[in-house]
């Protein structure tokens, strides 16, 4: 027996009113994009469901891809059988046995082909009896089954669908516009990017690079993080800002306690400029309240002053342990914890102000002209693209 198609359920998108089509179309686009290498597989979109017709393609890589596509609430593999009682029973049994022992089940039969001699009520009972006789440890539960085995008897064939596989949920990538993610290389910012993507947001990333204080490996780390994130949506552009000159000047000119605050304000200003240039309408950071000196209420108040763009902070109320857990799930933790300095960890004053005040910052920033360094940083910005496919073009392919 071979899998015929994958049935995809929409989840929260299905609750949308008039905009539903906008979301489902985006999802269809994304699914097609991810399964492009499997040429024979075709996508069909209906109001409530989507189907991937496998047409002989191997189901495993496609199932793997579906686990990562935002907007998919759950999905199931369907077996196609002849319209024969025994074949249908065997398919139902096979699907049940894919579940761990102890899973309760129910059979839901639908007969659209009225030529088929047994009606659906009767089929439910017959299939149920067959499955019970040929398995051990799978109880029946018609009210709250662990797995609902759905049997659809149609004109040409019968389709049997079993276990629901959980998708990542959320909204399809690209259905909620674009944001500029401030990607430092730490644990938090990739998780923030992931959560934004989960709500359908497409991301570009901005990274501040301060050679020689930060090295090539720190930059590579950011590229690897962006690459990992790209698997949850589409390719990710990274804007790498040469930050050394500006950062050194801030470090030299601004009183110690305030240098970090001013540096953050500079980053925010540069990010807004890049976002504007790219037609992006918001910024996203990995800030979490109280985690470090720059992430106190006072700090955010002072730093956020320089932009009136919306700043998304998906992690703002999360505990560090929860953030780490997500970063492990999405495979960014091991990259983030590579031990290289990033722009936020060099020049850190011993005692940064945890309660910086706007008036003080105005005073310090007002006396010094940073505009030349600021413009050079923007001009020197380099764009690197990390795409999900980039991994195939391995860097040492000729050696290995």
């Amino acid at each position: 027996m071979q899998y015929d198609h994958i049935l995809i359920r929409y989840g929260e998108m299905a609750l949308k009113g008039k905009n539903r089509k906008h979301f489902t179309k985006q999802l269809e686009f994304n699914v097609k994009d991810q399964i492009r290498p499997y040429r024979k597989a075709k996508v069909e979109r209906t109001r409530d469901r989507m189907y991937i017709h496998l047409h002989g393609e191997d189901h495993e890589p496609i199932v793997e891809a579906c686990r990562h596509i935002f907007g998919i609430h759950s999905f199931s593999l369907a077996i196609r059988t002849e319209n024969e009682e025994l074949a249908i029973k065997q398919a139902a049994l096979q699907l049940l046995l894919d579940n761990p022992i102890g899973t309760s089940f129910k059979i839901s039969c639908r007969r659209t082909n009225k030529q088929f001699p047994i009606d659906s009520q009767e089929m439910n009972q017959r299939i149920g009896a067959y499955v019970l006789q040929n398995s051990e440890g799978y109880p029946v539960d018609v009210r709250n089954p662990g797995v609902d085995i759905m049997v659809e008897i149609r004109e040409r064939a019968t389709y049997v669908t079993g276990q629901k596989i959980k998708g990542p949920g959320g909204l399809p990538a690209g259905s909620s516009g674009k944001t500029l993610l401030m990607l430092s290389g730490g644990i938090d910012s990739p998780v923030a990017g992931y959560l934004a993507m989960k709500r359908g947001v497409e991301i570009e990333a901005i990274h501040f690079h301060s050679p020689p204080y930060t090295n090539e490996r720190a930059k590579q780390k950011v590229i690897d993080l962006a690459h990992t994130l790209s698997k949850f949506g589409a390719k990710v552009k990274i804007h790498v800002v040469p930050f050394t000159e500006l950062q050194v000047k801030v470090h030299q000119e601004i009183p110690f306690g305030y240098s970090m605050t001013v540096m953050r304000r500079m980053m925010m200003r540069i990010s807004e400029r890049i976002a504007k240039r790219q037609g992006i309408l918001s910024l996203t950071t990995g800030e979490s309240l109280g985690q470090v000196a720059s992430q106190t209420m006072e700090s955010m108040h002072t730093i956020n002053e320089v932009t009136n763009y919306p700043v998304l902070r998906p992690l703002i109320t999360m505990d560090k342990s929860d953030i780490i857990e997500i970063s492990k799930q999405i495979d960014t933790y091991d990259i983030s914890t590579r031990p290289y300095d990033d722009c936020c960890t060099v020049f850190v004053p011993e005692a940064p102000k945890t309660r910086p005040r706007r008036e003080k910052v105005h005073l310090y920033e007002g006396t010094i002209d940073f505009s030349a360094e600021f413009e050079r940083a923007i001009e020197g910005t380099e764009i690197i693209t990390a795409s999900p496919a980039a991994e195939n073009a391995a860097p040492f392919a000729d050696l290995l």
Binding site: N215, E216, R217, Q220, A394, P395, F396, L399, L400
Partner: protein
């Protein structure tokens, strides 16, 4: 030259040597160095680890690079024994393992560990039930080789692995040195915790190997030092050797996938020819690995035959190279119940994907002539 001693070692593949040279020249820096050169060596090492993991269908963090089979087996066995000694002191292995397993076990015995050497049938085959019967509350490790180096016997690795899942305390080590690239084995499906590989058995360069370590399995390091390889195998990484090994592994796996029958056909031909020769007894099991054929010509000293063939530029071996310096009978054959006279005269022919049908034909012809000649002389 006809090289039929591929189970002793293989000739490095030219492409593998090219990679070795390139890596040794360009990526010579220490991967732990902070500078850019160190960074690129580290990236190459990461790419190697990734490719090795993909080829073996395991995780990247489950690959430990070692110096080869002997180190891998030592690290697996001692590493497990020392790490788990509080849980028990009993080890199970078989009577037909490679010396790097048997001698390691003997060393542990001298330190108070108890070792059961499970016996084998006439073909060197270990019955899973015998392993099962040997398990006690004290058992912490079972070590079984995948393919026997002298006979080519394929052990029931998966059956044993499944059986051991009922004993969560036991670590399962498989010496995969002879099987890699020759006989397919799914590490995860076989529930293997530790799996040893050696590069020079599949056309890599000597001095490199892999110890696969399941992510939830813990062992004690046997080398103290700079903390490389998850602090389980300290020492500056042999980047060129590793690069060459991973490339060789890819080539061997591709060869196995694209020409799965090739080695079998060589073996068939050889067995067909040997059958027709008087006084030749084949010891290898019919269902054994496709690249090893072990046979005896009782009454003839194997060294004489090896040297006589060597004069014709044909290279085979007597038992395993690692034990062939002791001129005693093959311990593996004796364990299988082969009589002394035969066990003392065993010859091993071992193929690789580089060998051809024509070579087997020529070998059979020369063997026949040599045997006829030697028999006359000996009488």
């Amino acid at each position: 030259m006809i090289y039929f001693d591929n189970s002793a070692t293989t000739k490095p593949h030219p492409d593998v040597l090219a990679s070795y040279t390139e890596a040794a020249q360009t990526y010579f820096a220490n991967p732990s160095s902070l500078h850019r050169l160190g960074g690129s060596a580290e990236q190459l090492l990461t790419a190697c680890r990734k490719q090795a993991a993909q080829l073996l269908h395991v995780g990247e963090d489950e690959i430990l690079f070692t110096s080869g089979g002997t180190e891998g087996n030592n690290l697996a066995i001692k590493g497990t024994a020392y790490r788990k000694k509080r849980l028990g002191n009993h080890i199970i292995t078989t009577a037909v393992e490679h010396p790097s397993v048997l001698e390691t076990c003997a060393e542990l015995e001298s330190q108070g560990f108890k070792v059961t050497y499970v016996d084998v049938d006439m073909y060197g085959y270990v019955a899973p039930e015998k392993i099962k019967a040997a398990i006690t509350d004290e058992t912490i490790l079972v070590s079984v080789m995948h393919v026997n180096n002298e006979l080519g016997t394929i052990q029931p690795i998966k059956t044993i692995g499944q059986m051991l899942t009922a004993h969560p305390k036991i670590t399962y080590h498989v010496d995969g040195v002879q099987g890699a690239g020759k006989v397919a084995l799914d590490i995860k499906e076989s529930h293997i915790h530790l799996y040893t590989l050696s590069a020079h058995k599949f056309h890599g360069v000597k001095g490199s190997g892999i110890l696969y370590k399941d992510e939830n399995t813990h062992i004690a390091a046997q080398l103290s030092g700079g903390g490389q390889e998850q602090a389980l195998r300290s020492g500056t990484e042999n980047v060129p050797g590793i690069t060459a090994m991973v490339k060789a592994l890819r080539l061997a796996m591709e060869e196995l996938r694209n020409h799965p029958a090739k080695l079998f056909e060589l073996k068939e031909k050889l067995l067909g020819g040997l059958e027709k020769m008087d006084g030749v007894i084949v010891h290898s099991p019919p269902a054994g690995a496709p690249h090893i054929v072990n046979f005896s010509v009782p009454g003839l000293k194997p060294e004489v035959l090896v040297h006589a063939l060597g004069e014709k530029d044909i290279y085979v071996s007597t038992k395993s190279a690692c034990s062939s310096k002791n001129s005693d009978a093959s311990a593996v054959l004796l364990a299988c119940g082969v009589p002394d006279a035969q066990a003392e005269s065993a010859i091993r022919v071992s193929f690789s994907y580089e060998n051809t049908q024509a070579e087997v034909d020529y070998f059979l012809q020369i063997l026949k002539e040599t045997l006829t000649h030697l028999k006359k002389v000996m009488r």
